[in-house]
Symmetry: D2
Subunit: 141 residues, 4 copies
């Protein structure tokens, strides 16, 4: 993998991964930006993301966080496979919200790497609220 990829190059590389990801298509997940070891993606909340109480399903929030994690962990090139993840749910999200997930690399060794993902909800006033925090570990093949 080229170490000289620029911002547009990273965007194109990660956007191609999102484009061929079936779950991203099913849930409407879009790339915002990314680079070596990080990724930022978004998901507008619609009817398909809701649970039986009418709020955003925890599984949809996790899927967004997990996708940011997968993009960041695989950005280096070698295949990275998720081995465990933990998520907390601080505040709910609703239809009409747009959730943004940002994944960052906490550590990366020869075989294992750890990422943190924060999921935020954009407010009408331009402010942000932390919806969930996620921590995941990958095994590098």
């Amino acid at each position: 993998m080229s170490k000289t990829r620029d911002e547009a190059g990273w965007r194109a590389h990660l956007a191609a991964l999102v484009a061929r990801d079936g779950l991203c298509g099913a849930l409407g997940i879009e790339l915002i930006a990314g680079g070596r070891g990080w990724a930022e993606i978004a998901m507008p909340i619609e009817a398909r993301h809701l649970n039986f109480h009418g709020g955003c399903h925890g599984g949809a929030i996790f899927a967004l966080a997990d996708t940011a994690f997968g993009l960041a962990a695989n950005s280096h090139g070698p295949v990275a496979v998720g081995i465990d993840a933990h998520i907390t749910y601080q505040v709910g999200a609703e239809a009409g919200d747009r959730l943004v997930a940002r994944a960052t690399e906490l550590s990366r060794g020869r075989r294992l790497a750890v990422y943190r993902v924060d999921v935020a909800r954009g407010g009408a006033d331009g402010g942000e609220q932390l919806v969930s925090t996620f921590t995941g570990t990958v095994y590098l093949r």
Copy 2:
């Protein structure tokens, strides 16, 4: 909530929750069975569940487990809101597999309850393989 609901009554009650859950519709999640404090659901893996490597997306496996958790936690009646969850990924799953998640109640207090969910992959030989194990906590409103 009636304490005298029989097996068919529980099935109808939980199937109605699945039917009005947007994410269950988007991912093809189906109820198998359930009762007070437990639920068993399935998801056949198709193109919409795959990640950019072509295997089943960890977010789809989590969404299945989280749905079983939500059904078990809300089966009692009071609204239960997920506050955190942890998942491990033991083996992968692929298009053509059918995943089954079974949620059971580990503890239930006045305000908090804990559930475990095992996700298994059915083999062509009728055997099962553990794909993921999930632990989640809810807050009871």
Copy 3:
């Protein structure tokens, strides 16, 4: 490692690991029983295990669970290093209680293995109450 170790042989093998574990000595952790892929240990709760509220410290409960996890994961022979763990706290424990942790193997591959540990509190009536449930993953060197 011999595959023909009998019950007393396993006990002696694991007891030797506990005997040279500094934290087990500092916290009074004792082996009950164990074998390939599992271990059962105990810790009587005393002043040294309490937190500033006067109840059993969550860190002491975790240390007990983590030790059972480490014994089960290393019972096979190859060095197993913990890479992540999750714990839930269902009910508290107090000075005078005796906590028992039982670790079992959920899966074991070439490089990764997953264990579950249940921590219970013995009652004066001989009954047991689930205090915590723990899930941990190791990397096999």
Copy 4:
């Protein structure tokens, strides 16, 4: 609780909690600093913190993180009880190392609050290395 406590006042308040914590005494945990919603503590690694492989026990690292979490969560006044926690282990620690844990508040509601704790190892060169990252949730009584 006074909102006008100054830096020395916070230090004295939290140091008193550490002084009456049995596990802090058993493990040699010391307060560095703290305030409303945060705490920073240290633990020099000695023989009592080692596991049967001779490295620092994961249970000791967790106990340090959990203590920082408990101090930060209880700093506001109301009793905060841990309900779940997740930890990752990135690099090992050894006898002679001094571990420092810093807890910060991610969110705090009426009944639930979430904290993140980073555990670092100080190097001889004055640099730091991330040993573990921890996320915990409390229930506020």
